[in-house]
């Protein structure tokens, strides 16, 4: 195995509230390798976005963070502000969910890309402008020269997201974090934007951390997947391992809830119950109250993340039991 580009160890992020500490991310550890696409999947409130923000150190000031985030030989959580600023936008870049509001409405798109370039590189304005136009072309924005001097409100949603991607890769980052990049877009546009990400990844070899709640998106683009629930990492593995050999009831339930388009007309499967309160999490495994496979042990102790094979690991007391049962394949 090559050395990981990003190594997160025991990351915990808590937010103080009037009633106590809300743990948004609890004891999350994972690795990300150069050039790979790692997808982080989970419901709203699972902690996936907070993890990303913590890595970029873009979290709210009130957050309490422990653990380490090793990137390129440094712990991003301990370096000083100036060092972190040099890394942001250059070595690690991030694109966000809502392209409507993610671009500053009073500056032209081209100017914002130029800014991203010039803050990390000592180049002339003309050189940066040329590169900005090239980037817009790379991500598929038509008439890039004209479009560069336009304002965000003159772009469509899909184009804006492409522009965001262009801005993010402008300094050839080693890691691109994409936080729900297609959630706010129409379905057809979603596919286009994912293709742009795919092309960019092929062209530049950048590693991508794709955060999403859409399993379908994952199946088409990721190398590895990790599933989060209620601030914890529940399962991680390759695409095949997760989709076909899942050893975690939560993951399995998610896969099962994918509507079956060409099967019989059954009821839509859903997971009964609601995600737990992060202020007073249930004892033991966070998924226990909703888990069809729960036993007594699940309430007593939080399961550890058990290594199963290769890149496959699961946090479940009954992971072994699931191997013996025939793992269902989504049809």
């Amino acid at each position: 195995m090559s050395t990981p580009l990003l190594k997160v160890d025991n990351l915990t992020v808590g937010f103080p509230s009037k009633s106590g500490l809300v743990s948004a991310v609890t004891d999350v550890s994972f690795e990300l390798f150069p050039g790979e696409v790692l997808s982080v999947v989970g419901e709203s409130g699972s902690g996936k976005s907070v993890t990303a923000l913590a890595i970029m150190r873009l979290h709210p000031r009130s957050a309490q963070i422990t653990g380490s985030v090793q990137f390129d030989g440094r712990d991003l959580l301990t370096i000083d502000d100036d060092e972190m600023r040099a890394i942001r936008g250059r070595d690690v870049a991030m694109i966000f969910q809502d392209p409507m509001t993610a671009l500053n409405p009073v500056f032209s798109v081209g100017a914002q890309i130029v800014e991203a370039i010039r803050v990390h590189n000592d180049v002339s304005k003309q050189a940066a402008q040329k590169r900005a136009i090239d980037l817009l072309d790379l991500v598929g924005v038509p008439e890039p020269r004209r479009r560069a001097s336009q304002f965000p409100h003159e772009y469509s949603g899909g184009m804006r997201q492409r522009a965001m991607i262009a801005m993010a890769i402008s300094n050839d980052p080693k890691l691109l974090i994409a936080d729900e990049p297609t959630t706010a877009l129409d379905v057809t546009v979603q596919a286009q934007v994912m293709e742009v990400l795919h092309d960019v990844q092929k062209a530049t070899g950048t590693a991508i951390m794709l955060i999403t709640h859409d399993l379908g998106l994952v199946a088409g683009s990721a190398d590895r997947v990790q599933v989060m629930y209620a601030s914890r990492l529940m399962e991680t593995g390759s695409i095949d391992e997760i989709f076909y050999e899942s050893r975690n009831p939560y993951t399995q339930a998610l896969i099962d809830s994918i509507p079956d388009l060409d099967g019989n007309k059954e009821d839509l499967a859903s997971i009964p119950g609601n995600p737990p309160s992060l202020l007073n999490p249930p004892s033991g495994c966070p998924f226990r109250p909703r888990c069809s496979m729960a036993v007594e042990r699940c309430a007593e102790a939080t399961p550890e993340l058990i290594h199963i094979a290769n890149s496959h690991a699961s946090r479940c007391h009954r992971a072994d039991d699931m191997a013996s049962a025939a793992a269902g394949t989504p049809s």
Partner: protein, 318 residues
């Protein structure tokens, strides 16, 4: 951009004309220069008739504005019967003095308010923030005349050697000494500024706070921009947009406040002239004054609109 400006002009000019028309009617209905003559009729019939003629008082109130406009275009704003002399000249001379305190009050006030707003927004919930919040509340609560009297008393009597109160019966100190001028205007300017600073800094603070919470600020941080650039370039440009509309209101309040402040500090500006004209009543001067302030406010609103277009590209395109 030019199209936008032209569009705004086309809307503003008719508005100004209608406003001035209504102002004229309003003033004419509420004042009657012949009021003192009524008592002595029929003895002073000549004087009565003379005034009637000069002010076209036999014409309907609705027609008189046109004669006023007719003369105004030729530069004739009538004669003042309280201060004496052509109204145009009085407005100009007095106007310069008022500008001397109103413009610094506006400019300095706006800048100070902006700095306070940025500071408060960035240091929310700190002692400094609460302190300035408290000051702003006080600024709102002080009527300008109380503030002016307070300043005058503190700096006049109590600090005799610092700022004497300068009565301006015969004009300013001769010699146009700049330093003396600054001494003269400091108090009036300060008392005028307070309300504007209070209002602008509160509004600016909440505008800044809202702006700093926007997604594009997070994007700017993700790009690795230094905090300084984020606050003063990305955030401020956006936070200023709603603030511009406040500036037009500020000027309107300033012009009103000048009336009070000038009379307290005996500053020979438009304010005391207005009060004198009101008392007599000096119809021509009154009309001239009210028309002038109305025009200034409308023009300033137009400038604010244009600035709005400059600051916010989204507006320009509808």
């Amino acid at each position: 951009m030019l199209a936008y400006i032209i569009r705004r002009l086309l809307v503003t000019i008719p508005l100004l004309m209608i406003a001035l028309y209504l102002v004229h009617v309003g003033v004419s209905t509420t004042t009657d220069p012949r009021s003192t003559f009524i008592l002595c009729l029929p003895l002073c019939q000549d004087g009565y008739d003379q005034i009637t003629e000069v002010y076209n008082l036999d014409q309907s109130v609705w027609i008189r504005p046109f004669s006023w406009f007719g003369s105004a275009i030729r530069g004739d704003f009538g004669e003042s019967n309280s201060i004496g002399g052509p109204v145009g000249e009085i407005l100009w001379e007095r106007g310069k003095n008022t500008a001397m305190i109103a413009i610094p009050a506006f400019v300095i006030g706006s800048i100070v308010a902006l700095l306070l707003a940025v500071y408060s927004a960035r240091h929310q919930y700190t002692f400094g923030d609460y302190f300035f919040t408290g000051l702003a509340f006080f600024g709102f609560a002080f009527p300008s005349f109380v503030m002016a009297l307070l300043l005058q008393n503190i700096f006049g009597v109590q600090f005799e050697n610092w700022f004497g109160v300068k009565p301006f019966n015969t004009g300013r100190k001769t010699g146009e000494n700049f330093f003396e001028l600054v001494r003269d205007v400091t108090l009036p300017v300060t008392s005028l500024m307070i309300l504007g600073i209070a209002a602008d800094s509160r509004f600016g603070r909440s505008s800044m706070l809202e702006t700093l919470n926007q997604d594009y600020i997070r994007t700017a941080r993700a790009k690795g921009l230094p905090e300084r650039t984020i606050v003063w370039k990305h955030a401020l440009r956006n936070a200023l947009i709603p603030l511009v509309t406040l500036w037009a209101l500020n000027l309107s309040a300033l012009l009103g406040g000048a009336v009070v402040t000038e009379s307290i500090f005996s500053w020979p500006g438009l304010g005391p002239a207005f009060l004198t004209a009101l008392a007599k009543p000096d119809l021509d001067l009154l009309l001239g004054f009210v028309m002038l302030t109305g025009t200034i406010v409308v023009v300033f609103n137009l400038i604010a609109d244009i600035m709005y277009g400059i600051l916010d590209p989204r507006i320009r395109f509808d």
